[in-house]
């Protein structure tokens, strides 16, 4: 057991640091140029050095590096420290690109991968529908092949970044007669067209991170389909095994916990700092038990992933750990906020409003509930843990689900 990264990796870290010292923020001739252009140039350079787009083949604009979770993590750490632009984040690079690389045709990779990892193409995901939710098998959005175009009608929901996206990767029913999953195809659809309307979906917090997307005779070329007709559901599953970055989840828990401790130090209880109150101390230490477990389990997953070993159930527990920690943190935070719990985190500025600290906590209190939305509710997670993790039999209804 060795929590340092070891010589070879510390050397690599030094290499990354030198590179960053030299190239970020842009110096000399580059210094003048506008911020965006600077970032673009820097990314190009970093990619050439093999620090970015590591999983992407050279021919598609990547640096095609040997997969190495630990190097990837070191790069994330150092780039974050230097506030340097890292891999372009977003659902396009996280989900579409791996899917295309695995299941797409060459011309599709040619056309979409490079601009996407350069951040020139923005994407959104068209999976969930008002009627379906966790039950993809029941989705209703239809795509009909008319001439050499798909004509798509239906509605998608929980679509983040739909307002800015250039394209949507979308699950549509193309074979109405086929049963459940068999009838679904995976289409790429341009967002900027008359047939598509995006309506922001406001959250109870007041913000609007999600959208509804209405497709009314929206069109896309016949060959903008990934995989064969009716294979859409299979294709969409391909991405799942790329979901990793366990550290990421844990790091977030650690950060939010640090914030909670800070809140406990500044908030008052009975006239004294709340953190001097025995109940607050006990609850903080109890939550920290979960936070550290989550954090250190992340180290373990990183190690196993780096070795190409399967972390097994640990992987499945990640999301629910984050959710539970988020809930406990939010509850204690609300207790600590006291009277600030009366105030709206999104109230207009001209009013008497929350101090910024409390404001973000009130958001967090409600938002911690929203996390669940992002991908399958806690109950779905528990089914997965019970069935894939503990090998329990699938329950009767789940048998009809696409979960397998």
């Amino acid at each position: 057991m060795d929590l340092s990264y070891g010589k070879q990796y510390e050397d690599f870290r030094a290499e990354v640091q030198t590179f960053l010292a030299r190239h970020w923020p842009p110096k000399g001739t580059d210094a003048g140029q506008n911020k965006e252009e600077g970032a673009r140039r820097f990314r190009e350079l970093a990619s050439e050095h093999g620090f970015l787009n590591r999983a992407i083949p050279k021919q598609y604009g990547g640096s095609e590096q040997e997969p190495d979770e630990i190097k990837a993590n070191i790069i994330r750490e150092e780039f974050m420290k230097a506030r340097a632009p890292g891999d372009v984040r977003g659902i396009g690079t996280m989900m579409l690109v791996p899917t295309l690389l695995e299941k797409g045709e060459d011309w599709q990779k040619e056309k979409f991968v490079a601009p996407t990892i350069r951040g020139e193409f923005g994407w959104c995901q068209g999976y969930s529908e008002p009627g379906s939710g966790s039950d993809l098998a029941s989705l209703k959005t239809r795509a009909e092949l008319i001439g050499d175009e798909w004509v798509i009608n239906g509605q998608k929901i929980w679509t983040t970044t739909a307002k800015t996206a250039d394209y949507m990767f979308c699950l549509c029913r193309t074979e109405p007669e086929a049963s459940k999953h068999a009838g679904i195809s995976y289409l790429l659809i341009p967002m900027k067209q008359p047939g598509i309307e995006v309506r922001p979906l406001r959250q109870m917090t007041g913000g609007a991170d999600f959208n509804e997307v209405f497709l009314t005779n929206a069109k896309t070329p016949k060959n903008w389909i990934v995989g064969k007709r009716g294979e859409g559901w299979l294709v969409s599953r391909a991405t799942l095994k790329h979901e990793r970055n366990s550290i990421g989840a844990a790091a977030q828990s650690t950060a939010v916990f640090a914030g909670l401790v800070h809140l406990a130090k500044t908030a008052k209880r009975g006239g004294k700092p709340a953190i001097e109150d025995s109940e607050v101390r006990q609850r903080l230490a109890t939550i920290e038990g979960y936070v550290r477990s989550h954090e250190y389990s992340g180290y373990r997953q990183l190690t196993l992933n780096a070795r190409g070993e399967n972390p097994g159930i640990l992987q499945l527990l990640n999301k629910l750990s984050s959710t539970n920690i988020g809930n406990e943190v939010a509850k204690l935070a609300l207790d600590l906020l006291g009277e600030d719990g009366l105030l709206d985190p999104t109230a207009a500025e001209e009013m008497v409003v929350l101090p910024t600290g409390s404001r973000s906590w009130m958001n967090q209190y409600m938002y911690s509930l929203g996390i669940a939305v992002a991908g399958g509710t806690a109950n779905i997670q528990r089914n997965v843990i019970g069935e894939r993790g503990l090998g329990l039999p699938r329950d009767v209804f789940a048998d009809r689900s696409p979960g397998k």
Binding site: M204, G206, F210, G370
Partner: protein, 358 residues
């Protein structure tokens, strides 16, 4: 031994409930919630006509002369309906004047409050979570200097009952010089709150203020507990209804044992707690020795339970429960108010511990 609402009380509850079902369906509650003022004069007028404004005020002053339990049952029903409006502040201010005011003050204000011709509110809290009478620092006197926060619907009030140092209470009128009102961004937009400040503002002490201000606080705790119970049980109804209609994997989700048990646990959390606020309300008038502690316990327990129900309700509605469009948020935020107003559960648990001599 009779621990059940009387027929009159049940009738009262049904009448208010019926009124709210007709006049304040969620669509309407939401409209007011999202509106400019958070106040619907017509809705309030209707309540006044039902006698709610003076329910607990002496008949001599045009009130109904009823007890805390009657007022609490109405509060529960208003919470159930998620009805926006000034009920809480108006009821507590009236109670304060009735219990602590001089005959002149009572004659001047109570009839108008009972008739709904004037609107009253309470200004108790000071910044930093100073809710309790013993916390108040605003200097007493016939001219006030300073500020109060978390004042319900200050902008609508004709008269304020203001808490002053030593646990006393004073009356300040709308038109009083040096009185300024700054809206606060309250989370429950159906019960707006304001910060009010005084600069040499004329005030008139309630003679018995210091004796009864803690009674007014206790009454507030009972009404908030009742409101939270109403809101919590309404949310449970909504979740059950949703579970019976929403389909997934080909069946209504109420078939799923996991969700079913979550709903059962919600019922277990909220339903027995009804008796807790009933008891506190009953004790307020009939077992005064136990009134302060049972009010503290009821407020702490019910607002915490209801808050958990609110979180569970978001989950039970799946993603949609998290949206602004879903009605869950109206009650979620109502419960946030009930929980924080007059002090958090932790504060009142500690008070309950002290009062028990622990």
């Amino acid at each position: 031994m009779n621990f059940e609402l009387s027929e009159e009380q049940q009738l009262l509850q049904q009448t208010v409930r019926q009124y709210l079902e007709n006049e304040c369906p969620p669509t309407h509650a939401r409209a007011v919630f999202e509106g400019e003022t958070g106040f619907d004069p017509a809705l309030w007028k209707g309540m006044v006509e039902m006698g709610i404004a003076g329910l607990h005020l002496a008949e001599a002053y045009g009130g109904a002369g009823l007890e805390m339990i009657d007022l609490a049952v109405v509060s529960e029903t208003i919470g159930w309906g998620g009805a926006p409006g000034p009920f809480l502040g108006h009821a507590l201010a009236g109670l304060a004047i009735q219990l602590g005011g001089s005959d002149a003050q009572k004659e001047r204000w109570l009839p108008r409050l009972a008739a709904g011709d004037a609107l009253a509110t309470i200004a108790l809290a000071e910044a930093g979570g100073l809710w309790q009478p013993e916390d108040w620092t605003l200097a007493a006197g016939n001219k006030l200097e300073g500020a109060k926060v978390n004042v319900p619907f200050a902008s609508l009030a004709d008269v304020f009952v203001v808490g002053v140092a030593g646990g006393g209470l004073a009356l300040v009128e709308k038109a009083a010089a040096g009185l300024e009102i700054h809206p606060m961004g309250g989370v429950d937009r159906g019960r707006r709150i304001d910060r009010i400040s005084f600069e040499g503002t004329p005030a008139e002490a309630l003679p018995k203020g210091a004796e009864i201000s803690s009674r007014v606080r206790d009454a507030g705790l009972v009404l908030l507990a009742a409101d939270a119970f109403g809101a919590g049980s309404r949310l449970l109804d909504m979740c059950v209804k949703y579970a019976k209609t929403r389909e997934q994997f080909g069946v209504t989700i109420g078939h799923f044992q996991a969700l079913k048990h979550q709903l059962a646990n919600m019922a277990l959390e909220i339903e027995p707690a009804r008796a807790l606020y009933w008891y506190a309300a009953h004790a307020f008038d009939h077992i005064q020795a136990q009134a302060p502690r049972s009010a503290a316990l009821a407020k702490a327990h019910l607002t915490d339970r209801a808050m958990q129900i609110a979180r569970d309700s978001v989950e039970a509605h799946g993603g949609i429960g998290f949206t602004w469009e879903c009605d869950v948020q109206l009650w979620f935020k109502r419960i946030l108010f009930d929980r924080a107003f007059l002090g958090t559960p932790a504060v009142h648990r500690e008070r309950a511990a002290k009062l028990a001599g622990w």
